[in-house]
C-alpha cells in the first residue's frame, strides 16, 4: 500500500460564539453577558486518503463538510486531533501547504474580485512559479475544456456564476496541485457547465494523479467522479467505503413495474396474492409495482413469476438510486442521534 497523502486522526472542531438573546432587550443583555455557546461542527473524524483517490465527502446541510475542508486546506485550526496533508499540518505551515493544494469553494470565489481574469492567471503563475511552458500548456487545456476564452478579459466581479466557477477551477489547478479540494463545485450550474467541470476534474485526475476531495449535494457528481464515498452527519463519520460497496450494502432493494395487457380476472388476482409473502405488491391503475430485496430473489425470477400469471405489456426495472441510498443513510442516522 502506498503512503497516505491525507490523514485525519480524531479531528474535532468547536466553534464558540457569544450567546444571542432575542429582541432589543436581548441585544442589550448580550452586551453584558459572557455566556457562550459551543457548537461542535466536526466531532472526532478520522480517515486516510491515498494519492490519486477521488473521494466524495457528503452529508446533510450543516454536517461539517466545509469545516473539514477548511481544516484540510489550512484555513481553520482543529480544536483537537491532527490533520496531515502531504506530510504537513496545513494550519501550521500554511504557505508551504498552499503550494500543494488547490481549493474551489463553490459559494465564494478564490479569485481577486477586481482583477481582470487574464491578469489573475499571470499573477498566479508568478506566485506558484509555474514555468512558461507549463503555463501555456495548462491554459490551453483549460481553454479547451472549460472555454475560458470568452470571458478572459472580463473583471472577475462581472462574471456569471458558471463562468466564475470555471475560472475558479482553472485557478485552483494552474500550479498542478497534489490535492484538490472542491466544496460544492457544481452548485447552481447548468447541465453543460456541470459536465465541463466534471470532465476537467476527471482528466486532471487521470493525467496527473491528483487527489480530489469533493463535497456536493448533487450525487451525480459523486457517481461520475468518485470511487470512494465518506458520509458524515452532525460532525461524525457514519460511512466510509467504495461506491460499489455502498451499493452492495444498501442498494439491494429493487422494484419492477408491470403494465397488464388486459385487466386481470379474479382468478389471476388470487394467484398474485399468493406471491405477497416474499414480494411487496403495490397495485396500480393499469398494473402492479413489485418491490423486493435482491438478496432474496433476482429480477429474472420476479419477472418469470409475474408473467406466469398474466400477460404483460410493459416492464420497467428500477434499481435503487444513489440518492435513495443516501437519503436512507441520512434518515437512519437522524433516528440514531435523536
Amino acid at each position: 500500500m502506498s503512503e497516505n497523502l491525507i490523514e485525519l486522526n480524531n479531528v474535532c472542531k468547536e466553534f464558540v460564539t457569544a450567546k444571542h438573546y432575542p429582541g432589543f432587550k436581548g441585544a442589550v443583555k448580550g452586551l453584558f453577558s459572557k455566556e457562550t455557546v459551543t457548537k461542535t461542527a466536526v466531532d472526532d473524524i478520522s480517515f486516510a486518503i491515498q494519492e490519486g483517490e477521488m473521494v466524495g465527502y457528503i452529508g446533510s446541510n450543516g454536517a461539517g463538510k466545509s469545516t473539514t475542508i477548511k481544516m484540510m486546506s489550512g484555513i481553520l485550526t482543529p480544536t483537537s486531533g491532527s490533520c496531515v496533508v502531504n506530510g504537513l499540518e496545513p494550519y501550521r505551515e500554511r504557505k508551504k501547504n498552499a503550494r500543494n493544494i488547490g481549493v474551489v469553494f463553490g459559494q465564494r470565489t478564490q479569485l481577486w474580485w477586481d482583477l481582470p481574469l487574464g491578469e489573475t492567471y499571470t499573477v498566479l503563475k508568478e506566485i506558484y512559479e509555474v514555468s512558461k511552458n507549463d503555463f501555456e500548456e495548462r491554459m490551453a487545456f483549460f481553454n479547451d475544456v472549460l472555454n475560458l476564452q470568452e470571458f478572459m478579459h472580463s473583471t472577475v466581479r462581472t462574471l456569471s456564476l458558471g463562468q466564475r466557477m470555471r475560472a475558479d477551477l482553472a485557478a485552483a489547478l494552474l500550479h498542478n496541485p497534489k490535492v484538490l479540494y472542491l466544496d460544492e463545485p457544481t452548485i447552481g450550474l447548468d447541465v453543460v457547465v456541470k459536465d465541463r467541470i466534471r470532465q476537467a476534474i476527471r482528466e486532471i485526475n487521470q493525467n496527473y494523479n491528483t487527489t480530489v476531495i469533493l463535497t456536493t449535494h448533487d450525487l451525480n457528481d459523486i457517481e461520475e467522479l468518485c470511487q470512494r464515498i465518506i458520509i458524515i452527519d452532525a460532525g461524525k463519520k457514519i460511512y466510509d467505503a467504495t461506491l460499489d460497496q455502498l451499493k452492495c450494502d444498501y442498494g439491494d432493494s429493487c422494484s419492477v413495474l408491470f403494465e397488464w395487457k388486459q385487466n386481470l380476472d379474479s382468478n389471476q388476482e388470487d394467484m398474485l396474492q399468493t406471491l405477497g409473502g416474499q414480494l411487496v405488491l403495490h397495485k396500480q391503475e393499469k398494473g402492479i409495482q413489485v418491490c423486493f430485496s435482491k438478496k432474496e430473489c433476482s429480477v429474472a425470477e420476479v419477472i418469470a413469476k409475474i408473467m406466469g400469471i398474466a400477460e404483460v405489456k410493459d416492464v420497467q426495472i428500477k434499481e435503487t438510486e444513489l440518492t435513495d441510498i443516501v437519503k436512507r443513510i441520512y434518515q437512519g442516522s437522524e433516528g440514531k442521534t435523536v
Partner: protein, 272 residues
Amino acid sequence: MKKYLRIYWPFAANQIKSNFVYKGRFYLFILRKFLGMFIYYYLWMAIYASASSGELGGFSRSEMILYVFMSYTISDMVMVGISSEIGYDVTDGSVAMSLTKPIDYRTRLVFKSLGVMIYRAVVPTLFIWIGLEIYKVCKLGMPVTNPMTMTATLLSVLFSFFIYIFFDYCFGMLAFVTTYIFGMNIIKNATLNFLTGRLIPISFFPTALQKIFSFLPFTAMTYVPVMIYLGKYSGMQVLEQLGKQALWVVVLYLFGSFLWKKIERRIVILGG
C-alpha cells in the same frame, strides 16, 4: 525583488487603471477635493483677517495658505485606508482566499493602496503642487522650493504612506475581534484629522499635548512632510524627523506582523 514586483505590481497597476477608467467618479472626486480644500482655505483666511497679529501658532498668513493646500493633498495621497477592505474581507469570509494561496495578504493590500497613491499623486496632487509653487513665487513673493527640501519632502511623504498603511493594517485587525469595524473607522478618521494636524497645525496645540504627540505616529502621517516643505525644520531636524518616520514604519510593520500571527490562529471564516 523582481519576482516580488511581478506578483504584486498587477494589484497596483490595476488600481491605477480602474481609477482612470471611471470618469464620473474621477470628476466627482476632483470636485470634492477642491471644495474641501477651498472651504478650509477660506476658513483660515477669515481667522487671519480677524486676528490682531499677522502670525498664528508660528504660521504667517502665507505659510498657512501653503499649509492648507499641502496638508490636504498629502493626507489625501498618503491616507489610503485598507482597514475597511479588511473589514469586508472578514465579514464575507474572503480572507480565506489569502490563506489558501502562498501570497501575503498585507503586501497585496499595500500594493493596491500604492496604486491609489500613485494615481492621486498625479491627479490632482501634482497639478496643485505646481500651481502652489507658482502662486508661492508670484503672489506670496517667497523663493522657489530648493531641490533638497523637495526631495526630503517626497521621501517624507513616502514614509508617511507606509506609516499610515501599516497603522491602518493594525487597526483593521480589529475586524477579526469585532464586527463593528465600519463604525470605528469613522471615529478613527475624525480622530486622525486632529492628531495628524490636517485640521489644525500641531503647533496650535498646548506644548504639553505637543510633547505627547511627538511620541505617537500620527504627526508623522502628514504634519512632518508639510513642515519639511515649509522649511520649518533645520537640516539636522529634517534628518531627525525622517529617522523617526523610518522608525515608525519599522515598528508598525512589526506590530502588524505580530497581530496577524496572533489572530491567524484564531481565525474563523464565516459562512459556507
